[in-house]
Chain length 477, copies 2
Amino acid sequence: MSTTTRRHNAADQAVAYLRGAGERFVDDLAAFVRFPSVSAQPAHAVDIERCALWLADHLRTIGLEHVRIARTRGHPIVQADWLHAPRRDTVLIYGHYDVQPAEPLGKWVSSPFEPAVRGNELYGRGASDDKGQLFVHVKAIESYLRSGGSLPVNVKCLFEGEEEIGSPNLAEFVAAHRHELVAQCAVLSDTPILAPDRPAITYGLRGGLSMELEIATLEHDLHSGNFGGAVHNAIQVLSDVLASLHDKNGRIAIADFYDRVLAVSSAERTYLQRNGPSDWELLRSAGGVRAAGEPGYTAYERTAIRPALSITGIQGGYSGPGVKAVIPARASAKLNFRLVPQQEPDEIERLFRTHVGRVISPSVRFRIRTGLSARPVLLRWDHSVMRAAASAYQSSFDQLPVLIRSGGTIPVAALLQDVLRIPTVLMGFALPDDRMHAPNERFRLPMFFRGIKTSIQFLAEMSKRSSAAPGRERVLH
Amino acid sequence: MSTTTRRHNAADQAVAYLRGAGERFVDDLAAFVRFPSVSAQPAHAVDIERCALWLADHLRTIGLEHVRIARTRGHPIVQADWLHAPRRDTVLIYGHYDVQPAEPLGKWVSSPFEPAVRGNELYGRGASDDKGQLFVHVKAIESYLRSGGSLPVNVKCLFEGEEEIGSPNLAEFVAAHRHELVAQCAVLSDTPILAPDRPAITYGLRGGLSMELEIATLEHDLHSGNFGGAVHNAIQVLSDVLASLHDKNGRIAIADFYDRVLAVSSAERTYLQRNGPSDWELLRSAGGVRAAGEPGYTAYERTAIRPALSITGIQGGYSGPGVKAVIPARASAKLNFRLVPQQEPDEIERLFRTHVGRVISPSVRFRIRTGLSARPVLLRWDHSVMRAAASAYQSSFDQLPVLIRSGGTIPVAALLQDVLRIPTVLMGFALPDDRMHAPNERFRLPMFFRGIKTSIQFLAEMSKRSSAAPGRERVLH
């Protein structure tokens, strides 16, 4: 029997195991969802801990090795691996076992932490984001190990408990453990596909850069009657700065801002136009609004291949009911840049600071704070990991996946790319109406099973890649 | 005995009475201050009521007639009069018996509603604003009526209980009772003088116009990753509008905004420069900031003879800790115009609406709400009421008063001017450090006594004016 046949047999055996064990897999997922592992709420710290312990125990049960709970300054990281495939690639599987708060509780049909199957759907907080999608890979591994006793590639699991609060401790952890986390690629399942029969791989993500700009013009608020007209008004100064950030056409007016923006080939633009949402579809999903933004691009392109700057919050002075005749001493705004390859968050931050310093009068004090920052991510279509993932979807969905460039940012993907220097393939199994972050979150059980099958195939495909021993591939275009 | 001598004797007798009764006057004022007549706090509604009853009773005791408590939709108005001076003018005395909230209570040395005399000062909420200054006139009337049995002019008292919440029911009341309130002038004591030996009359006030601008670009907030770059951002649109309201030099950039602004004579400007605060003094009182504003004018002129537009509050999106990646659907700002003669609030509102409509893209919805609005007030220096007031200060302070143009707005003065068509003379007795609206508010007893003497002299002077029977005088320049 050739290597290829053996490998295929292993995948087939795993799929057969999945068929027999499906009902128990759902029970296991329900047990996982039952933990109210809400990372944002300190009252749930003990539930996070219990959930991590349960998950570690479960990984041990299915045959993973070196199961460990790594302490961080926040919630723990659960790790495990299986490293008995010499000369094969190592796949790093990332997921998160923490969940969003379940509030407003009154809007749930069944309690968020008492998972309930209704029809073909499992309801509960975290059912889709991300416990269900994380479990897709866990159950693929179990299917292999229980049916044939081995995996076609080496696997490392990295399951964190702080994704929903911005992964504050993950970067430090990955940097400190980068030798232990060596792998040839990472897989992350926390993105949607388009429809039950339209699988998708997200191959591009915008980077993110969050800033806060605070203006202070006065020592304290002043009476707008006594002083109006003779002193700087913090809100006025802030508005002037914010208005200066875009030109009349909707382009960002910060000097040199577009310098590093990578041109997108006409082939790629044509593909995105054919396979992505039309302007009408995208604007409908935005609530049926009119288009705005940079000229020369479709709405989808504006969100996916072009950078953007959103003011996400502003405050200053008095905003309560009625009138308060005050010249505010302070005002502040939060800004959120979305960056595309090859823009560098650090450089954009510098350009922004220079711009603000140029616009604001020297007699006005201001402070800029930088919050989250993540590089853009872009995987070449012809990267072998992409090909492995596409082929896996094809075999489980009978459809080639649509390739998506997303306007969103997944800092973990950028982190693994930057620190471990490996590509992260975003294999989603959620559906757009899974109600992630909202009441009555659910995971479609057919997606759960197809997902497990896809993961089984993906690991098999990855073992082919290792055999072919390709040269070092570029992650970015 | 000539008429003039009799009149002078009456004023002298009143002043003599004041000298003998001074201590009791302080006790009466303390009794008045004891009521926690906080108009803003519903819990104090019963205290407002008790205070109005006490004040009415007190006015009856000192010899005023037709004492009545007029009901409004809010807190009551206390009225009284004395109309036994045929062929003499009628002076309408306006004051307010409601007070600001006393919070923060912990910062008071003695309890705000247990008035305490320390040194030459009476401490308590409302001691200066406005119970003490209102009482200046009440005690002048008492001094006349108790010593000589009559007043040199007719007097009508109008004491409201809602000034500190913006006099929401006064305009309707004055309009409905305008025949009953007929008078030749009004006097209002709720303004500061410059120092104990530098009396002042405020002869000009800016008008006010408060607006709220709300922008709605979306049905609901959107994710700044998924949609950033392709839809309108409410804060961005709002910032663009706010930035468009001033030009680079600090002038208001609304078309036709300055059309009706009355030129100020060089004589008046020279007087204001000599007698008003220097740039350095005004900016020091603003906390030591750098000058800003319209070129060609001093800081004092910018606040007093030129209009201004302050943004008093702004809100939109997420302003809590950390980052929320949201494109806000809504944002709003509060604006406060200060207007000078002959600008009309209604016209300025129209110009503002036109400007906003011109700046905002037709696909963005916005709403403008108008809040408080009051015309500017300006009294000619040579108006006989001004001369009477100046002469009264001269005789009690041995100093001619400084003539002040204030950047503030006193809607009541504009209301009496507009509805009753009479000049309102602003005779202040407060000192700049009386801590109005702040903890440890106080009224200087020497100012109380000098104030009563000034009021006695003012009424005497006003009776001269009636004798001279001047023609109809213009209120405004």
